[in-house]
Symmetry: C2
Subunit: 154 residues, 2 copies
DNA sequence: CTTATATCTACTAAATTAGTCGTTAATGAA
DNA sequence: TTCATTAACGACTAATTTAGTAGATATAAG
């Protein structure tokens, strides 16, 4: 259910590129430092994001990375899906990552998983980098004081 | 973002116990066969579910496993959370599995992740085994014909 | 006392995750 | 042209997690 560090790092990095969108390119070194990401690992991540056209780069003295598209034209869903393969909780309710499961005709919980996939996909695909960037960081009070269903954790 | 096989197997098995709730105990062999789960692996899973009080067992010739509590008193959230540790997409928005992240004060996407966690937790914690069992299995047509946001996969 | 079941403890093979490392190529400035 | 600084490329690896296996013991019914 959890995102990998790679996805987390990708999001951290791209949001600092959002911050400097339209300005000068930011070198990996700086992206790594600001977001506490191992530099050589970030290199791979940025390369993938470049292949997908979200980012571009310039070598040389004043080189670095820039956001290649308007942040209102890139969704969270695209990025997370690229690094995680699937948003769905199980493959049998995934469209892009669908894999047949022998239990499909009798599985009781498949419908719930489909519903979960649907709300998550809707939220992720409906949210652009620009929209996320406009929001303020959430505080820990908000995280922990949230109205939880049945008092359960998480 | 995806459930492990262990969680999947746990859910498969517990739903056949729901099916026989109030009747005679079902042996592992039978649970494994019906749900296509490796028997020795299922053994471990059932033991964990027994420790949590969802299931009990009888050894001996007519032994096997039974659901120990009413299926309307067990939620999907409890089970998934037990086997996955967290429902949240990242630790920093998890209550039970919270881990501090150095980026918290500046992280832009933490709020979206909190919202995702919230809807998933609400769905999972608000759904009992009994409620899931009442529903019919979903068809592949329903899975693939779903109204997708922006035409994106999954 | 036999047979069929659960229980306990440990081990392991495969896959995935989270990186590292060495080298080359491009660019701008001196 | 040469130097410093950056990205790009390809391979390698260590640690962790996942998905199991295996062998032996305990319990109950007939």
């Amino acid at each position: 259910m959890k995102l990998s560090m790679k996805t987390d790092y990708a999001l951290r990095a791209i949001f600092t590129l959002v911050e400097f969108y339209g300005e000068k390119p930011i070198p990996i070194r700086e992206l790594a430092r600001r977001n506490e990401i191992p530099k050589r690992f970030l290199e791979q991540i940025l390369l993938q994001m470049k292949e997908r056209g979200w980012v571009d780069s310039l070598p040389g003295k004043v080189g670095g990375y820039r956001l290649a598209r308007d942040p209102s034209k890139i969704t969270m869903g695209e990025i997370v899906r690229h690094f995680e393969e699937v948003l769905a909780p199980i493959h049998c309710v995934s469209v892009a990552g669908y894999k047949r499961c022998s239990q499909e005709p009798v599985c009781r919980f498949r419908r719930l998983m489909l519903n979960v996939r649907h709300v998550v996909a809707t939220m992720m695909d409906g949210t652009t980098l620009a929209a996320v960037y406009k929001g303020l960081p959430v505080t820990n009070e908000e995280v922990f004081s949230e109205p939880l269903v049945e008092g359960a954790g998480i």
